[in-house]
């Protein structure tokens, strides 16, 4: 594409984006330009790819942003920072009662023992699910999540249906996730309203006594560390 056309293109896309940001209707096309099915009753304008590229190019041309730095941030979250980190912490807690005790009293320090930096984990609190207590984590106001241990939150965690219902109907939400909780089980919902981040330590499944720490970690799913799933012996999460 000739340079002149490219700059006209960029100009047009940024204009659209700026108008959108100002709240002016832009005629979004539902669903197009988005790889996933409509997750949240939301329409995704097809030109977002180009609008974002246009802003990135402008900030790079201004000198403020380095493209390689952006690549590395994306790569860190796609390949290094994810729920496998949290699963390692949970598995260690299952096999080492002294570690579990430290995790429950000072999770930020306990996770550092396994080499995880403090990040947003600066103030992580671990919650233990037991036969009597089931913990469930939500952020009703936005999307707060213990990302050093679980990575970036899934779309459903950030969506209106989960954020609205987790606090008013936690048992209904759990049922929707396939988690049956007895009527006499205590359900504790943790609304992440401040900078404390919650990690659920799910119950170790019965029959897992002979598994080693690594095999146990492979059983621990992201959802079980949010509180919307139990850990099962027959389900192993495919690493993202």
């Amino acid at each position: 594409m000739p340079e002149s056309q490219k700059s006209v293109g960029r100009r047009g896309f940024l204009k659209t984006a700026a108008s959108s940001a100002a709240g002016i209707v832009t005629g979004a096309k539902p669903g197009s330009g988005h790889a996933a099915p409509d997750q949240d009753h939301q329409a995704i304008p097809s030109d977002l790819t180009l609008r974002v590229k246009a802003l990135e190019s402008l900030l790079v041309d201004k000198g403020l942003v380095d493209r390689v730095a952006l690549d590395r941030i994306v790569d860190a979250f796609e390949t290094k920072i994810g729920p496998r980190n949290g699963a390692r912490v949970v598995a260690r807690a299952w096999v080492d009662p002294a570690y579990k005790k430290r995790l429950l009293t000072d999770a930020s320090t306990a996770m550092e023992e396994l080499g995880f930096h403090r990040h947003q984990g600066e103030d992580i609190v671990a919650l233990e699910n037991t036969a009597k207590i089931h913990n469930l984590v939500v952020c009703t106001l936005c999307s707060c999540y213990p990302w050093p241990l679980l990575g970036l939150p899934p779309v459903w965690y950030k969506s209106a249906p989960y954020r609205s219902r987790a606090v008013i109907d936690p048992r209904g939400v759990l049922k929707e996730f396939g988690v049956d909780v007895d009527a006499d089980l205590e359900v504790r919902v943790w609304d992440s309203t401040a900078e404390i981040r919650y990690l659920v330590i799910p119950e170790r499944p019965a029959g897992s006594e002979r598994l080693n720490e690594e095999a146990l970690a492979a059983l621990v799913t992201r959802d079980s560390m949010i509180g919307t799933a139990r850990v099962r012996l027959d389900v192993t999460e495919v690493p993202a």
């Binding site: 896309f13 190019s57 402008l58 942003v65 730095a69 941030i73 609205s164 008013i168 919902v189």
Partner: protein, 220 residues
């Protein structure tokens, strides 16, 4: 602000759509928006985390509900790069730097990424501030309706609970989001029974725990 972002307890939002094996980013642009926002937010001022959250909250309600998560971030970014003086509206409109505009210093070099990703400024502050409440005390969430940023959800206001734990001193988002100071104060884990919040329809065995600053609470 009593905005649409304050969703706790709302109904008719539809089913929860769980996606098996969800990717970190659904499209390339989402990752770019995330990375750009991390780079831009590596500075303080207009870019502090509370101001960022508020910037998303004040999107027009219809847009907030219609937009996808990272689309909201992008909308916030477009207005904030101009407000912060990083680029001018003219540059946004033209898509290129103004003629003769000085080259700016790069915010985050590729070499600085790993330490930036590994480090996040904590909102905890090691300052001596007297706590107003103590563990075990019954408290009531104040019935206040700030027009600006707040982390006191509507569903808990005027309701009574029990302080479970004093978590220490933290920056106060209500002032920080508007660059009106840090106002460090004690943050507590407060436990509310679901019956107190939602009435008879709720299970006696359900409890909601919130993290609440001194300024959100009064003795019950």
């Amino acid at each position: 602000m009593n905005g649409v972002h304050d969703m706790g307890g709302m109904q008719n939002m539809g089913p929860i759509r769980h996606e098996p094996h969800e990717p970190t980013f659904h499209d390339r642009w989402e990752g770019r928006v995330y990375a750009l926002s991390r780079v831009l937010r590596s500075r303080s001022g207009l870019w502090n985390l509370d101001a960022f959250r508020h910037g998303i909250e004040v999107l027009p309600p219809v847009d907030y509900l219609r937009m996808s998560y990272y689309e909201r971030w992008f909308a916030w970014m477009l207005t904030t790069v101009v407000a912060a003086g990083d680029v001018t509206q003219t540059e946004i409109d033209s898509g290129t730097p103004a003629a003769g505009a000085p080259r700016m210093a790069v915010l985050v070099t590729p070499e600085a990424v790993s330490s930036m990703v590994d480090r996040r400024g904590s909102a905890r502050r090691d300052v001596a501030v007297a706590p107003r409440f103590k563990s075990g005390q019954r408290v009531r969430a104040r019935n206040i309706h700030p027009s600006g940023h707040t982390r006191l959800p509507r569903y808990v206001r005027a309701k009574s609970g029990v302080v479970i734990l004093d978590r220490g001193v933290f920056l106060f988002p209500d002032t920080r989001a508007h660059l009106r100071g840090d106002k460090p104060q004690h943050l507590y884990s407060v436990r509310f029974s679901a019956r107190e919040l939602w009435g008879e329809q709720a299970s006696r065995r359900d409890f909601i725990h919130l993290d609440m600053w001194d300024d959100y609470l009064e003795p019950a």
